[in-house]
Every structure is written in C-alpha cells, then in structure tokens.
Symmetry: none
Subunit: 360 residues, 2 copies
C-alpha cells in the first residue's frame, strides 16, 4: 500500500504537537503496531504523553516514514518546514485552514490534511486511538503533489479508520467557512444577542430550550483557536458572512411583509437540505473495484480522489501500482457498487479509462 | 391548591386538540388520576386518542375545572373563546406566541400558557405522559388575571412535572423571538446558504460535522407552524433580526480588519453566556461535567446511566454528541462534584475514558 514499508521492523512515525489530535494519532498508530516518536513545545506534555503510552519515545526520528504536525494553525507552516528539513520522510499537518500552509510550503514531501474530529474535547486527556474511526479526514493535494505521496499519506490516514476526502486547499477552506467557521461566529453572535437582551436574564435563559442550546453549543468552545481561524481564512469567512447577511436581510423583509410564500420556500428548502445531510454509514455490503490506468505524473491520484469527493463517492480502499519503468501505473479504488456507474462516468469524462470488477 | 376540587371524585379536565402537546397533557393528567374529556377537529384523531387511552371520552365536559386548548396558534384564540363560552371552568392554551391571544381574550377565566417541550416530535404518536417533566412551562398572566386562576393553572401544570415560569405575554414573545424564532430562521438560512454553495454538494455535506448538524437541526422541523409564528410574532422577530444583522455586520468587519481584540471579546462573552445557560432546577451548588468518549453502538448511553444508578450518582443533565459520521461520540453527564470521583472510577473500571471538567 505504501512504497516506504519497513519490512519486518515496525513502521516509524513522528507526531509533533501532542494535544488532542496529535495524541490521538500517536495512540492510533501505536495501537496498529507503529513505533511513534513524538514531541511537544511543552516539555511536560511530551513527558506526560510518553508516560501515558501516547508515544514510544520523545524526540524527532529523522528517518520516520511520515511525520504528523499537530500544532496550532498559526505555527503549523513553520513547524512543518522545520520537520521537513530535519527528516527524510513525508510530512502532513492537521490545521483547520489549508490555503496558507499549502501555499507557503513548496515541498513534494508535504501534503496538507485536516481530520474533522475531536472538536468537543480538548487536550491530551481526550486523546483516543479510535478518534478518527469513521471521521472524515481531508487531504489537500496541489498540482505538484506526487502520486506516491498522496497514496502513502492517504493509506496511513485510512489505517486510523478515517474516511478520506481529497479537495484542493482553497476549496476546503471555502467549505469549512460555510459549515464550521461562520456557524461558529453566528452562534457566538446569537448567544451575545440573547445575553444583551436578558434584562431578566434568568427567565430568558430558562426559556432557552433545546433548539437554542443546540445552536449555541459551539459557542462554549475555546476562543483562541477561532482567532487564528478567522485570521487564516479571512477571505472565505467574510464572503460567506456577506451571503448570510443578504439572506437574513431577505428573511427580515419577508417576515415584515408577511410574505408567507417567500418564507415557506425558505423553510422547505432548508428542511430538504437538512434532511439530506448524510449520516455516518458503515461499510456497504456490495463493493466493486475500479481499476484506473494512470500516467505517472504528479497529481493524478489526487485528481481521481478529488473527483470522487465532488461526486460524493466514498472510496473505501485504494492502491496505486507503478510499472517497473515508472512511466505508467494503475490506481485501484474500492467503492460501493451503487456509486460505481457515477464514478465511472466522471472518470471517463475526465479522460480516464476505468474498468470495474466485482469483489464478490 | 385549586378551589374547584371535586372531593373524592376524579378531577376533570378537557383537552381540545389532540396532537403532540394535547395528547401529552391528556396522558399526563390521566396518569395522575384525572378524568380527561377531549376532542379534535379531526374526528379520526379524537377516536384514535380515545382508543390509545389519551382521553377517557370524546367531547367537551362543560363542568371540567380546566380546559387545555392545544390547537394550532392561528386558531387558538377562536377555539379558546368557544371553550370559555361552553364551559364554566378555567381555560389555558399552549400556543407559542402569547401577545395576540392574550390581547384578544378578555376573560378572567383565561390564562395563556406555553409549554416549552416537544418540538422534536410530532403528532399523537409522540405523546408522552412525562413530556413536561423538568420542562419550562410559561404562563402569561395579565394585569387582570385573578390570583386564584394563576395559582390553579400553575398548580395543575406543576403536577405534570413542569417548571413554572411566569412572564407578561409581550415579554414572553420577545424572549422566544431571541431564543427560538430567530434561531430557527437563522438555521434555515444557513442551511440554504450551504446548499446554494454546494457545487460539489456531496463534499460539502460530508464535511458538515457536529457543530453544523447541531446548529441546523431545527431546520428539519415542519415549516407550517413557523409561518404562523412569524405572522403572530412579527414585530419581535424583525426587531431581533435587526439586532442580529447589526451584530453579524460587526463580526464581518472585525474578521475583515483582523481585529483580534474585538473578536476575542465577542467569543469570550459568548462562551461565558453559553456556560451560564441553566440546566434545570433543584441542583446542588457545585457541579462538574463528565465527558465520556463513547462508541456509537446501541445501549452505550444506557450502560453509562445504569452505572450511575448503581453507584447512586445523580445525573442532572446529559447530552450525547455524535461525530460527523456517527461512528463515535461523546456523552456529557453533569453530576454533583462530590460524586465525580466515584463515577469516574466506575467508568474507568468499565473501560471508558472519562475526563472531568469544572462547570465554574
């Protein structure tokens, strides 16, 4: 699955930054037989991680096949550059904004990532070997990401149980502005608005029932990380906020004018879209293997996975074989049988020549 | 407690409108020994309620000591007036906007009410004798409401297990605009905004993790009731929407200008206010939050609660969050600080990895 396997010896990884996410990566890899070297800017936290069995040893292994950089977003690019300079393996990160770091680091051994898990817990104590089981882990390859780098990091992420989604860095940032960053700012604004109007605070707060609690739950999160997110994803966040301001202005107009048709259209559309939010699903019963001959050029595997993400096709397993000469290869993706035709159509439209094989 | 008690005979009530709320009132009163007469504009629903034991008989008892009007908001005033004319007892309603009905009905036997429960379920099938246990039930007396009417209705509501909150009708409407009506419209707007931007819809929706799911959950509700609410509470809703538009405009400005001080002030205020949201009454002074990562399998919450019961640990509040893909989550239980260690020990012995956080 990876081209940098270590034979009988344990595979080796670094984890730099041992908070909730880094700690969970360390536990997850160790639970799967890896040797994990890790460190943290806070020495006592690194020691605690070692004593808790989150890492095998403290430090940075220069020959580890992969290094996970799991430090706060604002320092991620600097730390990742340093790790690239001090190690010979691949490097990936977990920052929740991907454009800046992917623009800043121009090294074929680096691939940006964002595991979408763990936001409700904080710190090493919340670390869990199975935190990523069933969670979406976005990888953000660029046009210059070599196939084998994407394939290797993707395979490692998948061994942690995550579902892989590939997106260009900028598209990732636009999407998380819509589904995470702006909702967080809206929740905070609504909470403060409620607080401002609470001249009889206790009564208001007692009436804040389930829906309000649900909507404002994220506002209880730690503020610091959101400042960095706002700074790093400024353009997408302000753009989505503009869209929301327009939409809420329309709603206010419709309520004020008693425009029932306008309101019912909004509410029905919202209901349909909410109902269609995908729920987590186990691995389907019927799977097929999609074999895609690929040229040996950078980014071809990432292109196939980005297409899968666009089409909503879940890739459950994949491998890339290269020919001995290295000029061509075949990418094998395992997908649900029900989505095989959709995926095949998209691949053909992009100039690939896939074949489908049943796995039964 | 009431001045119209019936001695040894069962106390008698009417329930007019046998949906979720009316059905729950009927079941709740019958479970407490009342004789309940009920009816519904839909004859088959009334018959179903009788066969399910939600009411003792179909009709309107002219001498019932209290009548609950549980019909849609737009017809509540008309139905309540009719019930006042045809009965000699007290009349209350359950509409979620209180100004219009309380202005329209000028009768000392009428007292407006709003049980804040049940929004996630619909229809008679969701009816539950204990639906109001621990829920807030707002009563909205006016300057002309006689004390004994307020006391009598309040006592009956409390026998259903509800926590009584009294507010003037207009103040009730302002508060629910803040904590319920506008949040609902915002959730719908955000859901539609996300849907509009989903040129690669599937990818966006797969990235819509816990926070977004929480925030937009209410958008899955039935639209019809919200049209009536928007019409009836127009003034308060547009006023709160104006406030939210101003607030979000400020946020957009702060993000665009990288105004970290402004953003941290907003986020810190929101966090403090959210943390102060009360979680039900009768609780001890010092509480802690126990956060338990759990696998998404049936019965895991029951296992945690059974353990709490075995250990004699009283769980004052709990919520279960699931990860985006639903394969894991975290159960949050609020317990008295004094029993935190006991509970934690039991959880660890069962293989859980709880963390404890102070609520102060």
């Amino acid at each position: 699955m990876t081209e940098t396997g270590a034979g009988d010896a344990a595979r080796r990884a670094n984890v730099v930054g041992l908070g909730l996410i880094g700690g969970s990566v360390g536990l997850g890899l160790r639970a799967r037989g890896w040797h994990v070297t890790g460190d943290d800017a806070a020495r006592d936290r690194a020691e605690r991680a070692a004593s808790l069995g989150v890492v095998d040893e403290i430090g940075l292994d220069p020959t580890a096949e992969v290094s996970f950089v799991a430090v706060p977003a604002l320092t991620a690019a600097e730390v990742a550059s340093d790790v690239l300079a001090r190690t010979s393996g691949l490097v990936t990160d977990v920052a929740s904004v991907k454009g800046p770091i992917c623009r800043e680091i121009d090294d074929p051994r680096f691939l940006g990532g964002h595991p979408m898990a763990g936001s409700e817990l904080h710190g090493l104590d919340g670390a869990d070997a199975d935190m990523f089981a069933g969670a979406v882990w976005v990888l953000t390859p660029t046009a210059t990401t070599p196939d084998h780098v994407f394939a290797a990091v993707g395979a490692i992420v998948r061994t942690l149980g995550a579902e892989l989604v590939a997106l260009p860095p900028e598209r990732h940032d636009e999407i998380v502005a819509v589904v995470s960053h702006v909702p967080h700012l809206v929740a905070a604004s609504m909470m403060v608005l409620a607080d401002d109007r609470a001249s009889d605070h206790a009564a208001l707060m007692r009436l804040a029932a389930g829906g309000f609690r649900d909507m404002t739950r994220v506002a209880a999160g730690h503020p610091d990380i959101w400042l960095d997110i706002c700074a790093q994803n400024q353009r997408a966040i302000t753009e989505v906020l503009s869209g929301l301001l327009d939409a809420l202005g329309d709603v206010k107009q419709a309520v004020g004018a008693d425009d029932r048709d306008g309101l019912i259209e909004l509410l029905n559309r919202a209901r349909a879209a909410r109902t269609n939010l995908p729920r987590g699903a186990g691995r389907p019963e019927t799977m097929v293997e999609m074999r895609v001959p690929v040229a040996d050029r950078p980014g071809v595997a990432a292109e196939v996975f980005t297409l899968a993400a666009e089409l909503g096709v879940n890739v459950y397993d994949f491998e890339v074989y290269h020919s001995a000469e290295g000029s061509s290869g075949v990418l094998i993706a395992v997908v649900e049988a029900a989505s095989a035709d959709l995926f095949r159509g998209g691949l053909i439209a992009r100039g690939f020549r896939p074949s489908v094989r049943s796995l039964e």
